[in-house]
Every structure is written in structure tokens, then in C-alpha cells.
Symmetry: C2
Subunit: 222 residues, 2 copies
DNA sequence: CAAGGTATTTTGATAGCTCAAAATGAGTTT
DNA sequence: AAACTCATTTTGAGCTATCAAAATACCTTG
């Protein structure tokens, strides 16, 4: 069994690979994600490479092997299903479940996982709209537009929020921008780095481009 | 935060104290329960004593301090509530939940614990009939008779099964002796080390005294 | 091309938990 | 009392995961 440390390295590597050029993740990026110093990552990555879980290109970066990816997807599946359970069944605040799932994902057996999945009706996304890897290790790679990239006018449905911090999620919730909400971009001011959005029944709301970029959307009523 | 190793030491110490003469648990007993060598226990217990979680009487044994007991009860509460959840909500086999709970008990926050408790309707016992410590750390100390100690004839209700092994629990289940069942002791043969029991609608069943001693009962319709 | 800057790797240590095996203590047994 | 037995403790070592800080490699800039 992979220790929870190993599981965390692989999970963060998987997350970092999405959108990393060439799939090679720099050691520093991984160190940052795991909140450890770079030297520690070098040491651990070499051990993971010995176990065939990652491929290490010295001084360039690291990437998952097929086997490492398999393990990482299973951990991510646990994480997202646990989050879904905590929100749907235990009625917890979606801003709090990330930290809880961070612990539970390493303690859940595949057996319990599958029963949880069945209880929840085999959901495809978690409360943040993040896709849940299937038991077979398939991860939806749908690409979405963001509130920062959309033209003004058209109605949009929020489908995903790609940031786990409590503060940001509370803000999104309070602004009525959680997944499922319908909004319209009313104004984009790239120079000022601002976009303004409006819910059908609400006052306009200004967002930084950075914040808006974390809110993924799809055309509404498609 | 106590590491899961520390939590395990304290939990097993709590379990071992029940029924230990003078409340002092010999180092060897703890070593056996934790499946580590005695030297390891000596080392760890000294560290726990430094942290004020246990009291170590060298060459005699160890016992929980008030603080250690508080932590241990919280872990035991998590363990038993998780077991209850796994059986009641996820419909898992009661013979399998012990090992699962062994992992999950260390990953569950107090917050999640309380919501789980509420979801389950604040149960007082787990699926094996073991009492669940309250959030305030109160543990029911009810003493029960066992199938090995009861006189023949009177109707008895199984209230608790004090053994976690898969094999034993499967046997108990298959024999219809799970908590809630009603039985009668029909014969006791101390010389042969056997008791025979009978369910209202069933054939007689022979049990060793050892096995019968693990099945706790109360007078039926009392 | 030499000089700098930055990411990465190496080195030396440490904390937590464990084992094997030798040493010790304490209570019998003879 | 001397010898024996058994639990406990001590000693020396190893593994995993971490850090701080020095060394190294690579890329860019002057």
C-alpha cells in the first residue's frame, strides 16, 4: 500500500500535470503544492521513480507513469467522492469539505469507496463541479470557458469553481456564483483587470480577472 | 494533534484497562494488542508519559491519565460511530467494518463525527452492541451476563458480541446470534466445556464456553 | 565568453516509530 | 541463598519523511 505521503505526491502531480507544458512538472511546482522544501521533493521523487510510479528527468521535472497515474486517479476519486458525500449527505459547507477530504481520502478502502459512490448515485462531479474520475480511471477532460474569457451578453451557467480556499468559496457562495447559477457578463475591462457580471435577479458584481478565471461556465440552456 | 500511532496506543490502553486488575495494564499486554514488540511499547509509553497522556509505573505497567482517557474515548467514539455508519448507511457486512473503522477513526474530524452522529440518530451502541462513548466522554459500563454464565431455561436477548474477528462474527451471524436475537440456554456441560443454545424456531446449537463467553445477553422481555 | 541568477540536487541532521537482541529486575523454586 | 524464569527495559540500528544550507547545473544577460 502506498503511504498517504506517496498518495499525496501522486495526487498533486496529477493535478499539476493538467496544463503543465509537455506534462513535465518542475520540482519546485510540486514542492509548492505539497508545502515542502524542494530538496525533499527531489529525494522523494527518486524513491517514487524507483517504485515505478513516476518518471524523473533530472533537472527538468517529473511526470506520472501509467501506474502512478492509476494510483493518483484513485486518490482523486476518493477525494472528490468524499467531498460530495460530506456536502450531499452530511450537509456540510462546501467551503469546508476540502480539508476534511484531504484526510479521509487516505483512509478509505476501495470497498467503502464503491458503496459511497452507489449511495450518491454515481455522481460525475463533486460540489465544486470538479469531475470525479471513474472507477476505471477515466477522468473527463472537458474544457470550459471562464467568466474572464467570455464575451458579454450571453447567458452562462456556472459549471465549476477551480479553487479550494475557504475564503474564495464563501465569496462565490455569497455572490450566488456556485455551480448551477446562471449569469451574464455585462462588462469587461481588460485594462483595469475587471469583469462585471449580473445574475438575472440581482445587482451587478465586479470581479478581478484572476477571480473570474477560476469560475468556469458553459452556455446556458444549450 | 495526536498521531494515529498515539491514538492507537491510547485506544488499546483504554480497552485493556477494562477488566485489568487495578487498572494497571502490563506492557506485554499492550504490546500484544498493538502487535509490536515489548521494547517498542516501553519506548512509546515513556514518550506518552512525558506528554501527560499516560502514567508509567516502571516494571509494573501503564494506565491512562484523565487527559489520555479523554483522547482515547474520542477515538473509540469515532471507531464505533464509523462502524455504525458503515453498517446502517452503507449496508456493509458487520464482520468487515472493524478493519475499515480502524483506518477511518484517525482521519475523521470532530466536526464530521458530530454530523455522522446526528445522521445516525445519536446511537448508543454500535452494530456489535458495544457502547458508543458520548461526545462528553461518558462510556456506559453496563455489565452483562454471557451465554457461558447463564442458567438454562430462561429466554435471553443477545445484546453484545465482544470479538471483532471476521470468522467469529460470520459464525455468529450465520447462527442467528447477532445482537437482538432471542435464545435460550438448553444445556451446560462445564466438564466438556460446552453450552447448547436454542433459538425459538431452530435446532439446538453447541458452543464452546470460550465462544459462548463472548456473547453477552440480558433477560428477554424484561 | 564570463558573470549572474535561479532551479535543482546533495549533504548532514532530526523526529517518529519500529525491531532484534542483550541486559536488568523481581519474583519464584529448589 | 543461589539458581531460574519471565516480563521489562536498554542498546544499537533502520526506515520514512522532513529541513537547512551548501554545492551544482543550466540558462540568460552583459
Amino acid at each position: 500500500m502506498a503511504s498517504s505521503t506517496v498518495e499525496n505526491y501522486l495526487k498533486h502531480l496529477l493535478l499539476a500535470e493538467e496544463g503543465a507544458a509537455g506534462g513535465l512538472v518542475p520540482m519546485g511546482a510540486l514542492a509548492g503544492a505539497l508545502a515542502v522544501v524542494p530538496g525533499t521533493v527531489t529525494t522523494m521523487v527518486k524513491a517514487l521513480a524507483d517504485d515505478g510510479l513516476v518518471e524523473h528527468r533530472p533537472r527538468h521535472g517529473v511526470r506520472l507513469t501509467a501506474e502512478g497515474r492509476r494510483v493518483a486517479l484513485n486518490v482523486l476519486r476518493k477525494h472528490r467522492l468524499v467531498e460530495t458525500f460530506l456536502v450531499k449527505v452530511l450537509k456540510m459547507d462546501w467551503a469546508e469539505v476540502h480539508v476534511e477530504a484531504e484526510q479521509l481520502e487516505h483512509a478509505l478502502s476501495d470497498n467503502v469507496l464503491d458503496r459511497l459512490d452507489a449511495l450518491l448515485g454515481r455522481p460525475e462531479t463533486d460540489p465544486h463541479g470538479d469531475p470525479i474520475p471513474s472507477a476505471q480511471g477515466r477522468l473527463s477532460a472537458e474544457v470550459h470557458a471562464t467568466l474572464a474569457s467570455c464575451a458579454t451578453g450571453r447567458p452562462l451557467r456556472v459549471v465549476r469553481v477551480t479553487e479550494q480556499s475557504k475564503e474564495f468559496l464563501h465569496f462565490v457562495d455569497a455572490s450566488g456564483l456556485a455551480p448551477g447559477a446562471t449569469v451574464r457578463v455585462t462588462e469587461r475591462n481588460l485594462a483595469a483587470g475587471l469583469v462585471t457580471v449580473k445574475k438575472s435577479a440581482g445587482r451587478p458584481l465586479a470581479l478581478s480577472l484572476t477571480a473570474a478565471g477560476k469560475i468556469l461556465v458553459a452556455p446556458a440552456r444549450g
